[in-house]
């Protein structure tokens, strides 16, 4: 996995609360057997019109959103399905971090395993971000801090292990495979 340490970008805002994984990546795109190209299907039902053209009013399609690496979403992002296609789509589209006031458990887990940083902020910070689309902000994963344009610093939580895996680019399967002796021992005790 690529190391993720500092993310510096303008933000793009999706204000809706409870954006679910069927919105992030609709089920009809899940028949794939690879991870490739999921960015094209990201938010498909909102991003494209019925003829397949880009919906100009959708925030991600606006000129000022191009190149944004940080998505700010309404409360409770990623509820619903366990489909990892949702973070794959976000990453493939170019996002490196998502900011909200709550994340669904499985989404958060899946995001972290794909180098996409789920950033949990308090209501006031969230409101400021919602009110200031396109703000230039920085995420420092190592320090678990968000740097806002006025110089203020906001802490966000990430557990030590996930933080370590992000900044060192550690792949968790490798870590688990190293536990093989413990696993064999457990299996002997419980067979």
């Amino acid at each position: 996995m690529e190391k993720v340490t500092i993310i510096h970008s303008r933000t793009v805002i999706l204000p809706q609360a409870d954006i679910d994984t069927d919105q992030i990546l609709p089920a009809r795109f899940l028949t794939t057997t690879t991870r490739a190209g999921m960015g094209d299907a990201l938010f498909a039902d909102w991003r494209y019109d019925s003829a397949g053209g880009l919906n100009k009013d959708f925030p991600l399609n606006k000129p000022e959103a191009q190149g944004c690496r940080i998505l700010v979403a309404g409360n409770n992002f990623g509820c619903g399905s366990s489909r990892e296609h949702a973070p794959w789509g976000l990453v493939d589209f170019g996002f490196k971090a998502v900011i909200s006031t709550a994340f669904a458990d499985i989404f958060r887990n899946n995001a972290l395993k794909n180098g996409l940083v789920p950033i949990l902020v308090d209501e006031a910070t969230h409101q400021w971000l919602m009110d200031n689309p396109g703000a230039e902000i920085s995420v420092d994963v190592g320090k678990r801090q968000l740097l806002l344009p006025d110089g203020s610093v906001v802490d966000f939580p990430i557990d030590d292990f996930s933080r370590y895996c992000l900044i060192e680019g550690i792949d968790q399967l490798g870590y688990l495979l190293k536990q093989s002796d413990h696993i064999s021992h457990f299996e002997q005790q419980h067979s």
């Binding site: 057997t33 019925s50 309404g74 399905s81 458990d105 499985i106 399967l173 536990q179 696993i183």
Partner: protein
């Protein structure tokens, strides 16, 4: 063990969750590292596994315990009859057909038992685990599917995982996990007539909210829960994820043991006696503590339906749509649904009715539906699909003549699968049409682009099919 461990045991008894969790710790968690948790049963299906198998192949890894892995095809699998993998191209889109074939190939290559087209046990992954008796109290069960919480109805600790984690379990039979918190939902009192397990869980989600359970495992307790049969308990635990919870659990009891006894994958003979002894030790101790508790008065429950685009937007079927809060998500939801604040939900015209999904596709759900449809016809403008949860349920329903009742009423009777629950296999609700569905998610576009979904019990769904509009089952007689 550190002081926390000793303190913990002095502070009170253990919950069901805690007992199952502790029994599966391979390496305990520390401040720096999550626990390594052993997984007893890994259920897999065609949609969330191909990329995990690819990782195994790239890294030249084996499946550590094919004997603890069980595969079926359900999500993108057609519900019209096919004779086998060769026959898929006739009915499926090429990508879906390729995905199903990839599962069959991966299972063959890695020695995993697959319930494919030739198996009488093929079906929705969360329906067949229990049906085979593979789902048992005290087990840890995972699947690349969020409704894995269903298996918690047996007192198992079961939760959904992403594809990367599917790869972890295939390769190591373990997961890296932080211990979740616990939430006790106590539901006591006599459940009123006409109120089903689906209504109970919809009411709970309405109260807890779609993010109220985040970070928690729910234990459902109280006489309104212990009075439910296993099918109904599965309906309740199934939708725990809709309250944001990692999982839902119900303590095993005689109802659980009776259900399991004699099933193909359940223990037998002396093994059964040993297992039973273990299972009986699992229920939460009387002085067990939970991080949060809520209490619900079962006598106040009513048949429930959703009116919006998440499962927390729920009202009694006899109720009116709540006032506009000015909240943008609320407004967008009502716009999407084509519904108005202040209007009664009953009487809303219905185009499609779907009875199926891992929430409500078991034999008792089908019997309930048939009891209402028997001797009646669905409204002429309604398209109704009844999709059994598994091929064994299909056979059972046909032996009881339920299929004839559905067909005589004007509904379509299908092969098992997820079908219109998520519309991956070609069974979709057309854009703009309203579907009363016994599934678990009413998200925008869940049942097809532009499809509008109202979640309900099988009884409410059947009544709505007959009347051609959202209806309380009490109003059809």
């Amino acid at each position: 063990m550190g002081l926390a461990g000793i303190g913990g045991s002095l502070m009170g008894g253990k919950s069901l969750f805690q007992k199952v969790w502790e029994n599966h710790i391979v390496v305990p968690e520390t401040a720096d590292t999550p626990a390594v948790l052993y997984i007893d049963l890994h259920l897999i299906h065609e949609v969330t596994t191909p990329q995990a198998f690819s990782v195994l192949k790239e890294r030249e890894l084996e499946v550590r315990r094919p004997d603890r892995t069980l595969a079926t095809m359900d999500h993108s699998t057609p519900t019209v009859p096919v004779t086998g993998l060769e026959d898929l191209d006739r009915v499926s889109d090429p990508a879906a057909a390729a995905q199903i074939r990839a599962l069959a190939k991966n299972c063959r290559q890695f020695g995993i038992e697959l319930h494919g087209f030739d198996s009488e046990h093929r079906g929705i992954v969360h329906v067949i685990g229990p049906e085979l008796g593979a789902t048992q109290p005290g087990k840890t069960i995972v699947c690349g599917d969020s409704h894995t919480s269903t298996h918690g109805a047996f007192g198992a600790l079961s939760f959904g995982i992403g594809t990367t984690e599917v790869g972890h379990v295939l390769a190591t039979q373990c997961l890296l996990q932080r211990r979740p918190k616990t939430l006790a939902v106590n539901i006591s009192g006599a459940v009123p007539d006409g109120v089903t397990a689906k209504d109970i869980i919809l009411a709970i989600i309405g109260q807890v909210g779609v993010d109220g359970g985040v970070g928690h495992v729910i234990e459902y307790r109280g006489d309104a829960i212990t009075g439910l049969d296993m099918d109904q308990r599965m309906t309740v635990c199934n939708m725990s994820i809709e309250a944001g919870a990692r999982s839902g659990m119900i303590a095993p009891d005689d109802t659980t043991y009776e259900y399991l006894s004699g099933r193909p994958a359940a223990p037998a003979g002396a093994d059964w006696d040993a297992a039973l002894k273990h299972w009986q030790s699992l229920p939460s101790d009387l002085d067990a503590r939970f991080d949060k508790e809520i209490t619900i008065d079962a006598t106040m429950l009513q048949p429930m339906v959703t009116f919006g685009t998440n499962p927390g937007m729920v009202i009694p079927v006899s109720g009116v749509i709540p006032p506009d809060t000015g909240d943008i998500s609320f407004r967008q939801a009502l716009d999407y649904m084509g519904l108005q604040s202040g209007a009664p939900i009953a009487g809303t015209p219905v185009d499609v009715v779907f009875v199926g999904s891992c929430t409500n596709s078991r034999i008792s759900d089908l019997r309930q539906t048939a009891a209402i449809l028997k001797g009646r016809r669905i409204a002429p403008n309604v398209h109704m699909l009844v999709v059994p949860g598994s091929q064994s349920i299909k056979a059972q329903a046909e032996a009881e003549g339920l299929d004839k009742i559905f067909e005589a009423a004007g509904a379509q009777w299908r092969e098992s699968g997820c079908s219109m629950c998520l519309g991956m296999n070609g069974d979709t609700v057309p854009s703009g049409q309203l579907c009363v569905s016994t599934s678990n998610r009413n998200f925008e576009g869940r049942q097809g682009i532009g499809a509008r979904t109202i979640l309900a019990s099988p009884a409410t769904a059947a009544a709505s099919a007959i009347r051609g509009c959202v209806s309380d089952v009490n109003n059809i007689n």
